[in-house]
């Protein structure tokens, strides 16, 4: 491993020479500068792990050098050397970001420990920067697939809004990827090193939404055996993502409005006021303006949430993205399912592009998954897709015909194969009882394996 590099800046030659010799015995690479100007010159050529800077120098003093160094190298580790009577300056230096200071002459023990500690700190800072770089290299948009003008516009807006701390409302039909967009906004924002905390408001009963958001004290309600932090607290410093915001009750709307105004709240059953700092992103598939007009959603809350609106386009408005998305899901699911699907046959792709996809990207993903369950690698074929074929087409998508019975027969067969003949599971997915399913198997002469 390379030995650490140290830059000693002092106008006294004897100090520079002594420290060069002393640090040299440790094997450190020592450079010296007799003035602040000379030090800046050296810094422009190469970085140093630690700088030891005398505070009192003619011309540019140590404080000025510290300031200019930190402008150029914000994570520079600078130790200030002070003489008797200049401790006040040293305190100023600490306020300006110096790592520490030592009083001349130094006790060798103190100097050795201080430099060791500074180098350790430098190592941790460097490691931290490296980790952050690695994290940044993981694209925030990797999971968002699409090259259509609609998606490019949306991603451009995501990038722009991410840099701000504005509240974002994401609207779009179910299955259009609203949570992915919320995560992309967070991942590209300055808060990205803190958590994004999602809450699905639609999935929780009203009383639970409150407890989820605000947390509760022990004994706040029956079953509250322990104090529990709410999502608002967990999102402190990061992003709170409230999905299905259109579903929250009038009471929760009032509570949420208060939190957004005051940035403070109390846990259920508690009195302690907890201050929080988070960015809020909400999402809904509902028309919130209409709900406001109907009196089902508070107007003041709507305005609070609707600072920046991002609209996720439905898949039918960006059919050009369907091949990309289908390939993406095929590759992803191939890895997950350990089934080597490598291509989508042209007829199948045509079928995918013609389908209106009312369930959007989520429905497309499910369709690809089903085709991979019932089909045989390496190709996804039209007949394996759970979407109707083109009217008057060649029957590629529906080899059994297009009558209701034919469609039902094929659909049940597909579900049976998906569940490897397990009638209970297949019946559950088909939302019929097992007896009905047995009757249909018999009626259509279906295979269970």
């Amino acid at each position: 491993m390379d030995k650490a590099s140290i830059l000693v800046v002092d106008d006294e030659k004897v100090v520079r020479d002594s420290l060069t010799r002393w640090f040299g015995e440790y094997g450190y690479r020592v450079s010296t500068a007799g003035s602040g100007k000379e030090a800046l010159g050296l810094l422009s050529e190469r970085p140093f792990d630690v700088m030891l800077v005398d505070i009192k120098m003619p011309g540019m003093d140590g404080l000025e050098l510290l300031r200019r160094t930190r402008e150029a190298v914000p994570d520079a580790v600078v130790i200030i050397m002070t003489a008797y009577g200049t401790v006040d300056y040293a305190v100023q230096a600490l306020k300006q970001g110096a790592y520490d200071f030592v009083k001349k002459p130094f006790d060798p023990d103190d100097l050795a420990r201080l430099v060791e500690k500074a180098l350790e700190h430098r190592g941790l800072v460097a490691e931290n920067i490296q980790l952050k770089r690695s994290l940044d290299q993981v694209s925030q948009f990797d999971d968002i697939v699409g090259d259509s003008p609609e998606m490019r516009d949306l991603l451009e807006m995501v990038r722009n809004v991410a840099e701000t701390d504005s509240t974002v409302l994401i609207v779009g039909e179910s299955g259009t990827g609203k949570e992915l967009i919320a995560r992309a906004v967070h991942a590209a924002s300055p808060r990205r090193y803190m958590p994004i905390v999602p809450v699905s408001c639609g999935a929780l009963p009203d009383t639970l939404v409150e407890s989820e958001l605000f947390g509760h004290e022990k004994g706040a309600f029956t079953g509250a055996q322990y104090r529990r932090k709410g999502k608002l607290e967990l999102a402190d410093g990061g992003t709170l993502f409230l999905d299905e915001i259109g579903e929250i009750s009038p009471k929760t709307q009032v509570d949420l409005l208060r939190v957004l105004e005051e940035r403070a709240f109390t846990r259920l059953g508690g009195h302690e006021v907890i201050h929080v700092d988070f960015r809020l992103i909400t999402a809904t598939h509902r028309d919130l303006e209409q709900r406001v007009a109907e009196g089902k959603f508070r107007q003041d809350l709507f305005y609070r949430l609707n600072v920046v609106t991002l609209r996720c386009p439905p898949l039918r408005e960006r059919t050009g993205d369907i091949p990309l998305l289908a390939e993406h899901f095929m590759k992803k699911l191939s890895r997950q399912m350990s089934r080597r699907f490598e291509l989508i046959e042209p007829e199948a792709m045509e079928l995918l592009q013609r389908h209106p996809w009312p369930g959007n990207v989520r429905e497309l993903e499910n369709a690809i998954e089903r085709a991979m369950v019932v089909g045989t690698p390496p190709a996804i074929r039209a007949r394996d897709l759970p979407v109707p074929g083109p009217a008057g087409g060649e029957g590629a998508a529906r080899p059994g015909g297009t009558s209701l019975a034919a469609v039902e027969r094929e659909h049940i067969q597909r579900i049976l194969l998906k569940h490897r003949g397990n009638v209970t599971r297949a019946a559950r997915e088909l939302e019929i009882d097992r007896v009905t399913l047995y009757n249909k198997i018999k009626k259509y002469g279906l295979r269970r394996e």
Binding site: V15, R21, E25, P105, P108, D109
Partner: protein
Amino acid sequence: MPRLTLVTAGPLGRGYLERLAWRLSTVLPHAVIVAGAPLNLSPAWDPERGQYHSTRILELLARGETGEEGSRTLGVVGEDLFVPILTFVFGEALLGGPAAVFSPVRLSPTFYGLPRNKDLLLERSLKEALHELGHTFGLYHCPRDCVMRASANADEVDLKPARFCEACARALPA
């Protein structure tokens, strides 16, 4: 056989020097001799600090060196040493050069108000002498269990052994 010349200055016991010379000869491949004339330290005296500037002493010692391959001069100075930026030093060496110096003053338990302990003083002196001589053979501080490990106080001197680790020993003359 390379020579190691101990040049003395300041108040040092004859018995201490002889025992130190003998212990050094058991560790190093050198013929260890004690120079007859003591070094004149006055050019290294700093009246403001009330200490002797070790770098100046090194310059004086290097001047008297013969330059014989592998031979070294070690100043053993019974006075407190310093370099301008540090409150004190146990010793100093010319890295990869012909001379080194150390002081037993702060190695003695009596410096810290403790009872005299000749054996401990000798053990610490041996370690510091070997350490500074190690620098003259181009060795840096060593993180291993080795006499070249850095020690900024007497306790740390006690913690390291009076021998070179395998890697550092390779730098010594055969």
